[in-house]
């Protein structure tokens, strides 16, 4: 069992190579690890600092009280939280139906002139700065209407959400195996019924995720609201509803009062408070930032949980 000179050389060579590989591996792993940490630093820094600065201002009042003037203790951002909720609901109502229907059209007829135009338009729309949406709605709705309103704000946010909804819904519809569609059509179901009860349920998972991502995007926007929703520190759904019931207003009149006046939203309040020269307002704006962060985080968590539960339901 003597090893030849040649085998010896190979073994030696391998040892040398192995050492070099090990060293290269260690070095590169360290570098990637360090850079990953570096990329994570801003995330944890921002989240940590917002929690640190905002946490101290959070209490029950912060969620249940309207704004108080400077120098008066207490007060909260209930108006802003309610405004965000109203704006979110309105923007969904304005964006989801046309978005979903457009996506169905594009997924079904991708190569027709309208389909191509729609795809192109969606891509362009996704790249338009959000303040432009605000100015667009300002000229189109706010100036003729002669006042700022929640529904104008909702409309501006809806335009912002449209591209996200159209693209994700379209992608999800494309993922549905075309055999399912063909089977449905082959069994004699009309096109609309196929879309509604075969395609839509099969893609619902991703579609809902798309909605939530679009909401998460729109909920953090300030710019489109500056010229449309304006802001309103006196906005309180409870007062509006109670006042409406007391003075025997109809349901539509009350809904009108809710959506037809200026409202605030969390990013708008954050922006307004942060530029005020008073330390207490600055502190409150940190609180608002924290609430906004939690809000978006909740949306993301709900989206994930929903998708997971659907997956499990489909599998088992």
């Amino acid at each position: 069992m003597t090893t030849t000179r040649f085998q010896e050389l190979i073994a030696k060579n391998e040892v040398a190579h192995a050492r070099r590989r090990r060293i290269t591996n260690a070095v590169m792993l360290t570098i990637t690890g360090l850079l990953t940490l570096l990329a994570l630093v801003p995330l944890f820094w921002i989240v940590g600092y917002v929690i640190y600065r905002g946490g101290s201002t959070l209490n029950l009042d912060f969620f249940t009280q309207l704004a108080r003037p400077l120098g008066m203790a207490g007060g909260g951002v209930l108006f802003s939280i309610e405004g965000t909720a109203v704006l979110t609901v309105l923007s969904c109502l304005f964006a989801i139906p046309p978005g979903v229907l457009a996506a169905f059209y594009v997924a079904r007829n991708p190569n027709t002139p309208l389909g191509v135009a729609l795809r192109f338009g969606t891509d362009v729309l996704a790249g338009v700065p959000s303040i432009v949406m605000g100015l667009f709605i300002y000229t189109l709705i706010v100036v003729p209407e002669k006042h700022y309103s929640a529904w104008a704000g909702g409309l501006a946010l809806a335009i912002l959400m449209l591209p996200v909804i159209i693209r994700t819904t379209e992608e999800m519809l494309k993922l549905v195996p075309h055999t399912m569609r063909e089977a449905s059509l082959g069994l004699g179901a009309p096109e609309w019924k196929t879309s509604l009860s075969v395609m839509f349920p099969a893609a619902l998972n991703g579609i809902i995720t798309g909605f939530l991502l679009a909401i998460a995007r729109s909920v953090g926007e300030t710019a489109p609201l500056l010229f449309t929703a304006l802001g309103n520190e006196q906005y309180d759904l409870g007062t509006i509803v109670r006042g409406g019931i007391q003075s025997h207003q109809s349901l539509f009149a009350i809904i009108g009062r809710i959506i037809n006046q200026p409202v605030d939203s969390l990013p708008l309040t954050l922006w307004k408070y942060a530029q005020q020269p008073y330390p207490e307002r600055i502190n409150q704006s940190w609180g608002v930032a924290l609430v906004l962060m939690i809000f978006v985080l909740l949306i993301e968590i709900i989206a994930r949980l929903y998708v997971e539960s659907r997956k499990r339901a489909l599998q088992g």
């Binding site: 304005f94 530029q275 330390p279």
Partner: protein, 396 residues
Amino acid sequence: MSKFLRSFVFVIIAFSFLLAACGTSATPTPTSAPANTQAPAATSAPAMPASTATPTPLAPGSITLNGSGSTFQAPAESEYAFAFPLVDPAVVINYQPTGSGAGIKAISDGTVDFAGSDAVPTADQYTAGKDLQMYPFLAGATVLTYNIPELDPKGPALILDGNTLVGIYNATITKWNDPAIAKLNPQIASKLPAKQITVVHRSDGSGTTSIFSAALTSFSTTWTAGSGTTINWPADKAGNGVGGNGSSGVAAAVQNTPESIGYVEYSYATSNKLPFSQMVNKAGQTVTASADSTASAMNDFANSFTPQLTNTIVNGSGAGSWPIAGYTYIIIHQTSMTDCVKASKLVEYINWILTNSVATARAKALGYVPLTSAVQQLALATLGKVTCNGQPVMTH
């Protein structure tokens, strides 16, 4: 589960179609409904006082007066917004600090009921707004905050005069130990460093800039950059100017830059405990920014109001007058309001701001300077001339 969700999504879609279809036509109804029922009562009984123009008491919070504009007056407006509903529960005041320029634009477009501004509208803006009327309701001083580490923060404050200030902002005076500054500050002259002065100014369009540049124009003919909400600063061209966004931006720039100087509102400087300079005024007296010295400046110019009730109160000749001050205004449409209930509430609100002693006291506590009684009377007289659909709004 999934079936429920599916139907839920469809219900939402169906409902939103319904809403989108009737939304644009149905939404104006709630606002126009009270107006329609109230307006005939108001127009058919023009001789009746404003209080009886609304025979049935309005529901609490049923009338929202929206305003936007000046950030300088925002703390006062938020104070009023809190207090005024206690006076008249029917009214909700909503004021949004979007900046003076945006406020003037909004009232011209008619998208707000009133606007706030520290800057006087230009001729073009008046033309665009048709019947804009300014109501001065508070005044404020502008002060120069500085950062000279060599000086003792508890020692005597820096003293400047008009010419020196123009020199600094013109970048012809570039060192803190310049003879012009040293001569004004005999007590601290030895401590003034031979270092380059960094000049800080607002980078955004601002009413404060408009007041400050009007003062510079008045101080010296060597100030050639003019006055307005934005200025081409000579110091920027000389390379020692720095811009700050908003008063907070200016204050931060001054605090972070040794040997710098910048201008901010008096109320801002006091609430943030910034050091600010004294000034030698036109009468040759050394004055400190305060409510009294600003009131003195207001008195100097009591008779020089324009028909729109605007006034520039810089470089007054009174012995105790602070030389850099200005009014802050509420802007409304004097004759073209059509919703008379709203118009009467708006006039009531402005009347309350001008006359209520608690409102005035609270504004004073925030660092604003209330109107002198002469100016107050002038504003009230103009307020009495507001008309809605051709009828006077305030008849008592």
